[in-house]
Amino acid sequence: MGGGKTYIKAEMLISEICSFLAERDLRPYFIFISENKEIIEMTLPVFEGKICGVRLLNSIKDYNWETLKKILDNGNK
């Protein structure tokens, strides 16, 4: 049934995003916000081996301008 291959969606998407942006000299950065540790552990393997920045935040309150500013400054150095 069917002809097309199936892929795991998120992993394929992330690798495509990373390679697309890296080719164009841009920096992809994924900020994963979750209070659940189990969900974070499930999510981490998806980003392994990809050329991208990843930051895990425990709370939505931590997602603010200061966090982004640090990420932005690290790239400029």
Binding site: G2, G3, G4, K5, T6, Y7, I8, K9, A10, E11, M12, L13, I14, E16, I17, F20, L21, R24, D25, L26, R27, P28, Y29, F30, I31, F32, I33, S34, N36, I39, M42, T43, V46, I60, Y63, N64, W65, L68, I71, L72, G75
Partner: protein
């Protein structure tokens, strides 16, 4: 008196905080052609319902292209078309929440993965398919390779997307 005047002055001239972040701008082809300003530092994507908008201080050239209900696939489609507004080594931020986990183990069909998102591409592919459908119903035209005729008329249309990857 001076304090009173400063308060009035503030009321008349609101602070420029977040001026660079214009939430009303969401990119499309028309906007891209009309606005020639480039070299932006930062683009924020993601779901606007789950992640709050940030007040970015003036002086930093940034865009918040987050939209309510926007998933990672749509994020990629937006940045795929408008990445050139960013400067070299510009930062693209993808904030993700718990809902992203639902996508991790979801399997998708290869053919259904590439969907033309932008209206320009969609319109062009729609015109092409309509042309082909009309040609099929006319016996004289059906003999000719109408796909090639259309491509020569439109010019370069075939380069925008491979025929196998388009779902209408």
């Amino acid at each position: 008196m001076r304090r009173f005047l400063s308060i009035i002055d503030r009321l008349l001239k609101p602070e420029e905080t977040g001026k660079s972040l214009n939430p009303n701008i969401y990119p499309n082809n028309q906007w891209y052609r009309e606005h020639t300003e480039r070299n932006f530092d930062l683009v924020i994507l993601g779901d606007a319902d789950k992640i709050p908008r940030l007040q970015i201080p003036s002086g930093i050239k940034a865009f918040d292209w987050s939209l309510s209900g926007q998933n990672l696939q749509w994020d990629f489609n937006v940045i795929k078309h408008f990445f050139s507004v960013l400067k070299p080594e510009g930062l693209v931020v993808f904030p993700l929440t718990d809902s992203f986990v639902a996508d991790i183990y979801k399997k998708v069909d290869e053919r259904r993965y590439y969907i033309p998102m932008m209206p320009y591409f969609f319109t062009q592919s729609k015109v092409k398919m309509t042309f082909i459908r009309i040609c099929k119903h006319i016996p004289i035209l059906a003999r000719f390779p109408f796909k090639n005729i259309f491509n020569t008329l439109v010019g370069g249309g075939q380069n925008l997307h491979k025929s196998g990857n388009v779902n209408i």
